[in-house]
């Protein structure tokens, strides 16, 4: 989708991702993040025309977990607001659609996920076909391992290439104060680690993270007023694939390729890409699907391998990409978010500075 109006990200705030948020509930986690985003944009909450959020009841372990989160917005008097039971990246898509209609000029998008409240690899297993697959109880890491094995068997990746992704992600995360895991690592040492679920080692898998994220979007001159260098959303698109693991080639991501074509990824040089790849091998699949060449700076934030709050990690990718535009370190960026087992659903967003 190319928005009918010029829409930009003008503010981005996130909580540090931590292994377990003991002290604060969802509202307390979100409050400072939302306040930070609004204050960066210089926008009062009353001026926000549309609010959309992303989260998941299964992550929180409570039905209607998004209901109380609304307290963090201070929605009084009443606001125009909605929620997707998806990663917040799709809430951003919904906000872009709403801003396209022309009667609303600013939007607040937020997401939260306290993955530590459950056992994410088992919780995510509940996403599977409830009749034929879920009763077999495959967990999310085992499914990713299946995908990694298929990729290695295809000859298009090696275990060393996976280790290189992990090492670079952890190294990049050293400059990200919100990352959960970081460190100076080399592939050789990583390859000496035992398998976790073969062929994946622990460093090939994401950490369990709690975190929250908020963003302010604005159109045209409103965006220029709110930010000296807005990150313009030049294209955003998302596509899903069949659910059945036997119905798709797990070593490729045609939905990412299609979303990338619709978002216009190839219509210019990409400086930086933030890819929502919770597993090392998924970054390799995504880079190929997005057609990113070797000189693109991939996941300078450290990506989901360094911090992976469920339902927020995709929106954080868009925020991190926007940050690179807003701080002048990139001119054109690609952000990606994923949902579902083995990259079933994917969203691609192209961001640009004013030329």
């Amino acid at each position: 989708m190319m928005a009918a109006r010029e829409v930009a990200i003008v503010a981005f705030a996130q909580s540090p991702s931590v292994r377990r948020e003991w002290a604060r509930d969802d509202v307390e986690l979100l409050l400072p993040v939302i306040q930070d985003a609004l204050s960066q944009a210089g926008v009062r909450k009353e001026e926000i025309g549309f609010t959309a959020s992303g989260s998941s009841d299964f992550v929180t372990g409570l039905p209607f977990s998004f209901v109380l989160a609304l307290d963090a917005v201070g929605a009084c008097p009443a606001i125009e607001e909605t929620h997707v039971e998806m990663d917040g990246a799709w809430a951003l898509y919904e906000a872009c659609v709403r801003l396209s209609l022309g009667d609303v000029d600013t939007a607040l998008v937020y997401a939260f996920g306290r993955s530590s409240l459950g056992e994410p690899r088992d919780v995510l297993g509940m996403q599977l076909d409830p009749y034929y697959v879920a009763p077999l109880a495959p967990d999310a890491i085992s499914l990713a391992a299946l995908q990694a094995r298929a990729l290695l068997d295809s000859g298009r990746a090696t275990e060393r290439a996976l280790a290189e992704v992990a090492a670079r992600s952890r190294r990049n995360a050293r400059s990200n104060p919100n990352a959960q895991l970081s460190g100076d690592m080399v592939p050789e040492t990583l390859l000496e680690a035992p398998y976790f679920i073969a062929p994946l080692r622990r460093h090939d898998c994401p950490p369990i993270s709690d975190g929250a994220v908020a963003m302010v979007l604005a159109v045209g001159d409103k965006a220029r007023a709110a930010s000296s260098r807005p990150a313009w959303i030049r294209g955003v698109d998302h596509r899903i694939e069949p659910h059945g693991l036997g119905m798709r080639d797990l070593t490729r991501s045609p939905s990412t390729a299609l979303a990338a074509a619709n978002a216009g990824v190839a219509q210019g040089k990409v400086d930086v890409a933030e890819l929502h790849a919770p597993f090392t091998h998924q970054e390799l699949i995504l880079r190929e699907a997005l057609g990113l060449d070797g000189d693109v700076d991939i996941n300078p934030s450290g990506g989901a391998l360094a911090a992976n709050p469920l339902m927020s990690a995709g929106l954080i990718r868009i925020g991190e990409a926007a940050l690179r535009i807003m701080n002048g370190s990139a001119h054109r960026a690609v952000a990606h978010a994923t949902s579902g087992p083995c990259l079933q659903q994917n969203l691609v967003c192209v961001l640009e500075a004013d030329s």
Partner: protein, 384 residues
Amino acid sequence: MRHCAVIGVGQSRHAARRDDVSLAGLVREAVDRALSDAALTLEDIDAVVLGKAPDMFEGVMMPELYLADCLGAGGKPLLRVHTAGSVGGSTAIMAVNLIRAGIHARVLAVAFEKQSESDAMWALSPKYPFQPPLLAGAGGYFAPLVRAYIRRSGAPPDIGVRVAVKDRKHALLNPYAHLHLRDISTEAVANSAMIWDPLRYLETCPSSDGACAMVLTNDEAARRVPGPVAWVRATSMRSEPTMFAGRDQVNPQAGRDCAAALYKLAGITSPRREVDVAELYVPFSWFEPMWLENLGFAERDEGWRMTADGATELGGSLPVNPSGGVLSTNPIGASGMLRFAEAALQVRGLAGAHQVDGAKVALGHAYGGGSQFFSMWIVARQQL
């Protein structure tokens, strides 16, 4: 902004248990009927928006992922909306926005709930930390609001019974309704067990398995449809927090603001005169008079008079829930979309035995959470 129209409506057979279908089978029943109504196939659909209430009802996390196959969504965009009880309405509004923004020409909006796969009473009684565990299902939350309404409006005690009898009688005219209570009567309702004082068993919605689907298109595509279409004149949504000092939960500001915005967009100055039929989200009988006030059809504390006068019956001056409403059919995630869809059927003149004669303008209404999320639309036979 482009115009948007409903060209296809479908719903499943609703029942307390649909053991004959899977989740996918239930959803496809509604989708196939909506596509057939629109004379389209899944291949013609550009994008899908799926809504349902909490995932814990069926125990499938983000069921849109599993349902992508049965929705023919492979290679297409699929969005999953969840705004509690108002979700069916919000889902339709998301689909409308995709059309109006010119992003897609044909969008499929789908909502469902298979309540038999869970225990709704349990799922609707969340235990939040630091909150008193007073929530005994949805009725436990809403009964005190009903008591407050009765006290402050001075409504006679039989209003709830009248709504319950009326909606169940309407349901007898709707072949898709879950409850077909042929021997419904004032006595039967008044003598049924007290569940959440003052709400009796027969003043309460059932737990249903069911699905609803709609095909929405833009101006161009809608004009090629041979049959009647329902033009979406206006949509609106409002949310407010569950609790804040001075919140009026009986007549929430969010609902009043939502209705005011809706009428303004639809060019309606006197809703009581200009709306021909309303499908309101009434899961407990007394919410009919409460929402009549909240929606501006009656003055504050006067809504019950419309019920008492028979204005809200089929044949009355403002028929409310001719389909039988949520009191007769309640697959929670789909209940809001059913209200929207029934409003569309009315202005298309396709509501069958529960058709309101000459209905030209209809209101679809949904609410959710602790009376805090609202979504509404006005559909009409003619474009604005």
